[in-house]
């Protein structure tokens, strides 16, 4: 059931009627559609009349709205919606821009000063012969800590990139490259290990390999590594310890 609003007068729309605009658009469109459609059958006209009659307060005839005005209102509506969306977007953009700038500021503060970065780029262009022997690794670690003003540096393997400046008293290092390189090297080693010794390869232990001949002799001999010296190592250790303690006790007892 369509919800009916208080009936507007036929006179040019008053201020009060202007307030709820959301509904008139839809209902006018609906009425308009009915007017246009004009089946004008009794069935279509009936409910209208019923509603009208049901409405005691407002006994006036439904207002007549032209197509143009309805279109104008619809257009107004759309424009307003578009405006709000645009305003929202610009506001968001502003916010994002401000945030970006803030981040860049922070990063700049964290990075090395410009002068040293300049030196780095110029040094990379010149062809400096890398002489690993000139710089001791001990000094390298210390200088690295002094250099990276408080940013946490991993103690694990650092990678020398190039020497900076003429005074070779410190080195510039990139730590994240080393992790990437290590992981790739590990992956490569794992690949080779899998190809040669992984599942599907027909490998056997050295003991079995060397004992093959012993098995085919006319007088069968034992395997090449017949004794397993690693068996029961914990037991043997315990036994040794116990023996030592027992000896000490015996000595003490015999002295008394």
């Amino acid at each position: 059931m369509v919800q009916l609003r208080p009936r507007a007068s036929r006179a040019p729309a008053s201020a009060s009627a202007m307030v709820d605009e959301g509904q008139p658009a839809s209902e006018e469109a609906a009425e308009h559609g009915l007017l246009l459609g004009q089946p004008s059958s009794g069935a279509a006209a009936e409910p209208l009349e019923e509603d009208e009659e049901g409405d005691d307060e407002d006994d006036e005839a439904p207002e007549e709205l032209t197509f143009a005005s309805a279109q104008a209102e619809a257009k107004e509506e759309e424009r307003r919606v578009r405006d709000t969306v645009r305003r929202d977007k610009t506001l968001l953009k502003e916010k994002r821009k401000r945030r970006e700038e803030l981040f860049i500021e922070q990063k700049k503060r964290k990075l090395l000063p410009d002068t040293i970065l300049e030196k780095l780029t110029t040094a990379s262009q010149t062809n400096l012969k890398k002489s690993p022997g000139k710089l001791k690794e001990v000094n390298l670690q210390k200088k690295n800590e002094d250099f990276e003003k408080g940013s946490d540096s991993k103690k694990a393997k650092v990678q020398k990139v190039q020497t900076v400046g003429q005074n070779k008293s410190y080195l510039a290092l990139r730590l994240k490259d080393q992790d990437l390189r290590d992981s790739r090297q590990q992956a490569a080693k794992a690949f080779i290990q899998n190809c040669l010794y992984g599942p599907g390869t027909n490998r056997t232990t050295v003991n079995k390999f060397l004992s093959l001949e012993n098995k085919r002799l006319p007088v069968k001999k034992a395997a090449a590594q017949f004794l397993n010296h690693a068996w029961g190592s914990q037991k043997k250790q315990n036994a040794k310890r116990f023996k030592r303690r027992w000896m000490v006790r015996k000595m003490k007892a015999s002295k008394k």
Partner: protein, 686 residues
């Protein structure tokens, strides 16, 4: 000769690392061998297959490819993504250049030697230009889907074959694009879930590409059309390496079962011109995977996980059929890895990343010749000293009194002071060693342990005086005339006056330690020196060369001794000259100046200079005949060279005092027991 008690030491747990790549250089007849721990060794094949140079390894360097480029330059590439050039004069690494392609799996030098091609993990093939100082990146070829595991240039330098996983690509060098992509079957006549890895490719000048893969196949492809011509199944396991000779009429492949196959181009019938490739000879000299093979003009060279380097001369290529055409198997090191502190009966063993100090056991029993005496006190493992850093130890030494230990890696030098209290020891490191001592090739202490002599790889010799807890640098002997020649071996006289140092090419220099200047130079000999020692009292310098010649030079007189001239005139016994392994240590008896004790891997010999020399007709190896033989026969067969083969394989032999010898043996079975697993062999009945 006298009676000796011999300490037979078998607790040196020496395991060499497996051979990964082999590269043969035709012009200088040298072989570069790289091992799995990163060591690169250079063998001089014309100097009786002696290892003349080596570059110590590094933990992060996993070498996967080795090649020679123009002008005798050696390059290696590995899984750390870097291309390393080695400086063969100064014995250090010139530079390491990152290829920026991830781990490098293969490398090949162009036939002209001026370009270098590198196959990387990410599927890219990179071309480098070899400039006089460095190498320079030129361009990338088309990137492939999977890692490039093997590369080969066409002899004209226009095309390149690259083997990857499940396919082989043929590239055109000028454009860098892949012309053909040849798909390889995963299994000979069948399907398989395991991917087929192309371990090696070889490009012949008629456009044939030979590929060996992990399914055990050797396949011949036509690179013009990109099709398979012939397929051979030769093994049940991977075929891991291939090498073609220069004339392209034979090639050799190595399999994971340890077999090496020789393929030759033979004519179909005896007088037809049509030829085909036929598998002619199998060789089974290895027990584990053969990961590297090389083809020299006269020999097949193979090396693998079982750490032997096998050089098999081909009978049809050898001109003179003498002992040179025999199989050579290099297993034991050509340098000394054990040092001995005689007074305290301590032995220092050098491993790749640590040192071990042992005290010898003792016995109170006595017996006759040939008895095994029971130990009353076992050998004691006193110290396990781990080296700092990822680099391998180059050399180490313990002072004769047993209170100083020194060792050197490429970047640092370490000196430790040992204090012995009763049966315990304590170690104290001497800090702040000077930088010029690093990368030492040989370290030696003087007899009274007051001086330390260090031979660096730049050619200079440093003399350091050792004080109670510190040291003082006395002098440095610089190399002469601006040549950079690394000093490989050192010897000091027992009275501390003379120091002998041998380089790689010029003769042996003798320096006077008292006056700190060069005394004289022994004339250069064209074979490298393998062992040096100075005799007590007489100050005769005994030099052993790699062709098994032994010279004796008198330092005070500055000339060869009479005995040395006599034996050079007569010549050594032919069996003495045919020994395989070089003499690695010479020592002397303190009370018998006529005796020289020397050993190699399979025998030890006491040369008695007072006895007559053997000529070619006498028996060289004559163990003591039983006592019931007449004296006449004994006198007739006695000669100067008393050889004993009881203890073998010997790594070190030294005279501890007048009646004791120590022999460090390393049975081959103990080495094999610690190798990685081999391929299973199915034998009927087991």
């Amino acid at each position: 000769m006298g009676e000796f008690k011999v300490h037979r030491v078998r607790f040196f747990n020496y395991v060499p690392s497996g051979i990964r790549c082999v590269a043969y250089n035709d012009q200088s007849n040298r072989l570069a061998v790289s091992r799995t721990d990163g060591t690169v060794e250079i063998y001089n094949l014309s100097a009786n297959y002696f290892q003349e140079k080596f570059f110590p390894g590094h933990e992060s360097r996993a070498t996967e490819a080795l090649c020679w480029a123009k002008g005798q330059r050696l390059f290696s590439a590995g899984l750390n993504g870097e291309i390393i050039e080695y400086d063969l004069q100064a014995l250090n690494i010139k530079y390491a250049m990152d290829a920026f392609g991830g781990p490098i799996w293969s490398m090949a030098a162009s036939p002209s030697g001026s370009q270098l091609l590198v196959g990387c993990e990410d599927g890219s093939v990179k071309l480098f230009q070899v400039t006089p100082e460095k190498i320079q990146f030129e361009r990338n070829f088309d990137r492939q889907k999977s890692r490039i595991l093997s590369l080969s240039w066409h002899p004209s330098g226009t095309h390149v074959a690259a083997g990857s996983i499940d396919y082989i690509s043929v590239f055109d060098v000028k454009s860098g694009s892949a012309i053909h992509k040849m798909l390889v079957d995963r299994q000979y006549m069948g399907v398989s879930k395991r991917k087929c890895i192309i371990w090696g490719v070889a490009f012949l000048s008629d456009g044939t590409v030979i590929s060996v893969d992990s399914a055990g196949k050797v396949q011949f492809w036509d690179s013009a059309t990109g099709t398979l011509v012939k397929n051979h199944l030769i093994a049940n396991a991977d075929v891991q390496s291939i090498a073609v000779s220069d004339q392209e009429d034979s090639f050799v492949v190595g399999t994971a079962e340890g077999t090496v196959f020789h393929f030759q181009l033979v004519s179909v019938t005896s007088n037809s011109s049509e030829k085909q490739w036929v598998r002619t000879k199998p060789f089974q000299h290895h027990t584990h995977d053969v990961r590297a093979v090389a083809h020299s003009p006269t020999a097949l060279i193979s090396g693998g996980t079982d750490t032997h380097l096998v050089i098999r001369p081909l009978m049809e290529k050898v001109e003179v059929k003498n002992y040179d055409a025999a199989l050579r198997k290099i297993t034991f090191p050509h340098r000394r890895l054990v040092s001995c502190a005689k007074k305290r009966q301590l032995l220092l063993f050098q491993f790749a990343h640590h040192l071990e100090l042992w005290r010898l056991g003792s016995t109170v029993a006595t017996g006759k010749n040939g008895d095994t005496l029971p130990l009353s006190k076992d050998a004691d493992h006193l110290l396990h000293l781990k080296a700092k850093g990822p680099e391998n130890i180059i050399c180490s030494c313990i002072s004769p009194c047993g209170s100083w230990i020194a060792y050197s890696t490429t970047s640092r030098f370490f000196l430790y002071r040992l204090n012995h209290e009763h049966d315990n020891i304590s170690l104290q490191r001497v800090s702040k060693m000077p930088a010029f001592l690093r990368s030492a090739l040989q370290i030696l202490f003087s007899e009274d342990s007051t001086k330390l002599f260090v031979a660096s790889n730049q050619g200079s010799l440093h003399v350091i005086r050792l004080l109670e807890g510190s040291f003082k640098h006395l002098h440095t002997f610089q190399p002469q005339s601006g040549t950079v020649e690394s000093m490989c071996l050192l010897a000091v006289s027992p009275d501390g006056n003379w120091l002998a140092a041998s380089g790689t090419s010029a003769g042996v220099h003798v320096y006077s330690v008292k006056h700190l200047k060069l005394h004289c130079t022994v004339p250069a000999y064209n074979f490298p020196v393998t062992a040096l020692a100075i005799a007590p009292n007489t100050n005769n310098l005994v030099i052993a060369h790699s062709d098994q010649q032994v010279f004796e030079y008198s330092i005070p007189d500055k000339q060869y001794t009479e005995w040395s001239r006599t034996i050079q005139k007569q010549g050594f016994h032919h069996l003495w000259l045919q020994r395989d392994t070089p003499i690695t240590h010479i020592s002397f008896h303190p009370k018998r100046p006529m005796h020289i004790l020397l050993h190699d891997a399979y025998m030890f010999c006491i040369i008695d200079k007072s006895l007559p020399l053997p000529n070619d007709k006498t028996l060289l190896y004559n163990p003591l005949p039983p006592t019931n033989e007449s004296d006449v026969i004994r006198r007739r067969t006695a000669h100067a060279f008393k050889i004993s083969k009881i203890y073998k394989p010997l790594l070190f032999m030294e005279l501890l005092d007048e009646r004791t010898l120590v022999a460090v043996e390393r049975p081959l079975d103990d080495i094999i027991a610690q190798l990685p697993p081999p391929i299973k062999k199915k034998k009927f009945g087991t």
